[in-house]
């Protein structure tokens, strides 16, 4: 199997395995899994458990619950979130270009302008169609 350029060939004398470079990832995975499990488990062991009716009811700022807990969420939250994701990804693409601006020169500038232009068309469309209206 071809080895990608710039990678580290395992040294058979030391018994090094090909996957050795991924050991930190394994460690990260194990710590990430175990940390919440352990802390929540210890909390469960230590805390008292004495449920009663008032404590188990739905919280509504201390008063008796008046309206059902399931309300309809307006779709405009979703629209704003999707627009955010799109323009955030656009920003992410802008960062490497900004960092290497000098090397990329005029060609990079024009290419990036085209990229931005395409997204500006989308922005104008979203604006004119009322996607940014919060009313």
């Amino acid at each position: 199997m071809p080895i990608p350029a710039g990678s580290h060939e395992p040294d058979p004398d030391t018994g090094e395995h090909e996957m050795a470079a991924y050991f930190p990832v394994l460690l990260f995975l194990l710590v990430g899994l175990s940390f919440p499990i352990i802390t929540l488990f210890i909390a469960w062991l230590v805390r008292p458990n004495r449920p009663n009716d008032v404590k188990s009811s739905v919280y509504e700022c201390g008063i008796e619950p008046e309206t059902p807990a399931w309300t309809r969420v307006s779709v405009r939250f979703y629209i704003i979130a999707v627009l955010f994701v799109i323009f955030d990804v656009e920003t992410i693409f802008l960062f490497p270009w900004a960092v290497k601006y000098g090397v990329l020169g005029l060609f990079g500038f024009i290419e990036m302008s085209i990229f931005l232009l395409i997204l500006v068309v989308g922005y104008i469309y979203a604006w004119r169609k009322g996607a940014l209206q919060w009313a």
């Binding site: 199997m1 071809p2 990608p4 090397v103 990329l104 060609f107 395409i118 068309v121 989308g122 104008i124 469309y125 604006w127 004119r128 169609k129």
Partner: protein
């Protein structure tokens, strides 16, 4: 930035003229729909048709007339190993023409059609244009990332097209089903791609082929699993059984021009991807993946045609019928896979797929154009009963529908017969006579439900409604489709010559 040459990049970009044209025009349509909606509503359809025609001209111009009519086969955007990510060869040209044809029919149907002629007509056209733009990368792309981006562009625009009628519950249902299952299929496809990359070390089709060339170890382990998963992912897009369940709901829920687009262009796009990937990258291992495809083909033909028997909604019926046709088309690919180095059989397989997709586009787009013609109490109709007595209300359209249905069933003297003859012949040439027999039997079965429509049109009596006013674009679409269906059936040679270009697949 050593090794990157802007001049070479611009030169490579010149090979993407049709794609750039479509992308630019789609953006313009979007801008126009946001800024000058009234004006664009009037001219949008004709403008789009003109742009599609120019794109078709640009695509055909890439078939450069060298001496002896050679193809301007070239690769663009090479990666580190020199493998191109975007090629322009005969195969790409032929399939792009199929896409543009399907899109042209869709645009014709959408003009002056109630659902798509409203305030958002320019958006419908923009979605169609963007979808075709994505499809072109499926035909020309040879790097798996490029192909995937093309697939997603095509699919996302497709999801929106299905859900275009936002007020209609069935449209929402169809769009959500298509979207969720499509996203799942894309995920499976990507997983397959990553496994293939892991097994071969290359993300480019030519690199994969090179890596597999010297290696006779068979499709075991990661490679085999990756190929199977890729087949699953693409099989979904093609609506092959058992990945077809989204098709009836999506086809029924979508507005009729969008359904036609899904059935003709989107299906051809998925087949272009299937062919490109499996013939270029896994061509050597045809004996390994062909049995799986035989299963898919046989299942698609059978399930598609049998399920269509009981449908009363014509769009659902045509959806299942298109599942059956996907099964027929898979036979061409199977022939290529089992050709084992025989260039003649391989050529026949590729030719038959391209030819059949052309013919199928004419017949299916024509059939959907006729569904677009139906009205029930002023609303677009889509049930079998809405066809009752159509011959009295519009005799010419009825005769055209007869042609389309006969072509889909594969009756001689229509184009469908020619297409099926080439496809079934390709299967027989690789000693899959039983599969060809299954295909023929299924064609007989399909004749029953096509005949149900014919009976409704010609024999049953309608409600006695007056003559239908057919808008010019729609009658142009029906007329053109009918003409080609008849002409290809009687004199197919020019189209066979055109489809022969599809055999010229670079590097395979």
């Amino acid at each position: 930035m050593a090794g990157f040459d802007p001049a070479v990049f611009i030169e490579n970009l010149a090979w993407m003229k049709p794609e750039l044209l479509l992308a630019g025009f789609g953006l313009l349509l979007l801008l126009a729909s946001a800024t000058v909606p009234v004006a664009i509503r009037q001219v949008g359809g004709w403008l789009t048709l003109a742009v599609l025609a120019v794109a078709a001209f640009l695509v055909t111009a890439q078939l450069s007339a060298g001496s002896g009519g050679t193809v301007a086969s070239t690769g663009a955007f090479p990666d580190i190993a020199g493998n191109p990510a975007f090629v322009v060869d005969g195969f790409a040209v032929v399939f792009k023409l199929i896409f543009l044809l399907g899109a042209a029919f869709t645009v014709l149907m959408s003009m002056k059609y109630p659902d798509t002629d409203g305030e958002d007509s320019a958006e419908f056209l923009a979605l169609v244009v963007f979808s075709v733009f994505g499809m072109m990368f499926l035909a020309s792309g040879t790097g798996l990332i490029t192909i995937y981006i093309g697939l997603e562009t095509m699919a996302l625009a497709g999801y929106l097209l299905v859900g275009f009628r936002v007020q209609e519950k069935r449209a929402n249902e169809g769009a959500v089903k298509y979207f969720v299952l499509g996203a799942l299929a894309s995920g499976i496809l990507l997983y397959g791609i990553s496994l293939v990359y892991g097994a071969t070390g290359s993300i480019n089709l030519y690199g994969i082929a090179a890596s597999l060339a010297g290696d006779d170890s068979g499709a075991a382990g990661f490679l085999g699993l990756g190929v199977v998963l890729m087949l699953v992912g693409i099989g979904f897009k093609v609506a092959a059984v058992p990945f077809h369940m989204w098709a009836p709901d999506a086809y029924e829920g979508a507005t009729t021009p969008a359904t036609s687009f899904l059935a003709t262009a989107a299906k051809a796009g998925a087949f272009a991807m299937l062919l490109r990937v499996f013939v270029t990258a896994f061509g050597d291992r045809g004996a390994d993946w062909a049995p799986l495809m035989i299963l898919l083909a046989a299942a698609s033909m059978t399930v598609g045609n049998i399920a269509a028997l009981r449908q009363d909604n014509v769009k659902r019926m045509l959806a299942f019928s298109s599942v059956g046709h996907a099964g027929y088309v898979l036979m061409g690919l199977i022939a290529v896979g089992l050709s084992g180095g025989d260039a003649a059989i391989r050529a026949r397989g590729l030719l038959s797929v391209a030819l059949y997709l052309f013919i199928y586009t004419f017949a299916t787009a024509g059939a959907f154009a006729l569904v677009a013609l139906l009205r029930k109490n002023g609303q677009p109709g889509e049930m079998l009963d809405d066809f009752n007595g159509l011959v009295k209300r519009h005799p010419v359209a009825s005769v055209c529908m007869l042609l389309f249905l006969l072509s889909l069933a594969g009756i001689p003297c229509t184009a469908g017969f020619i297409g099926k003859w080439w496809l079934f012949g390709a299967a027989i040439k690789v000693n899959l006579v039983w599969l060809a027999v299954v295909a023929v039997l299924n064609s007989v079965v399909s004749l029953y439900y096509y005949a149900r429509v014919m009976v409704a049109i010609f024999i049953r009596d309608g409600d006695g409604e007056s003559k239908i006013q057919v808008p010019l674009p729609l009658s142009a679409a029906i007329g053109a489709a009918g003409l080609f269906t008849l002409v290809i059936g009687v004199y197919p040679q020019p189209f066979i010559r055109l489809a022969r270009y599809a055999v010229l697949m670079m590097g395979a």
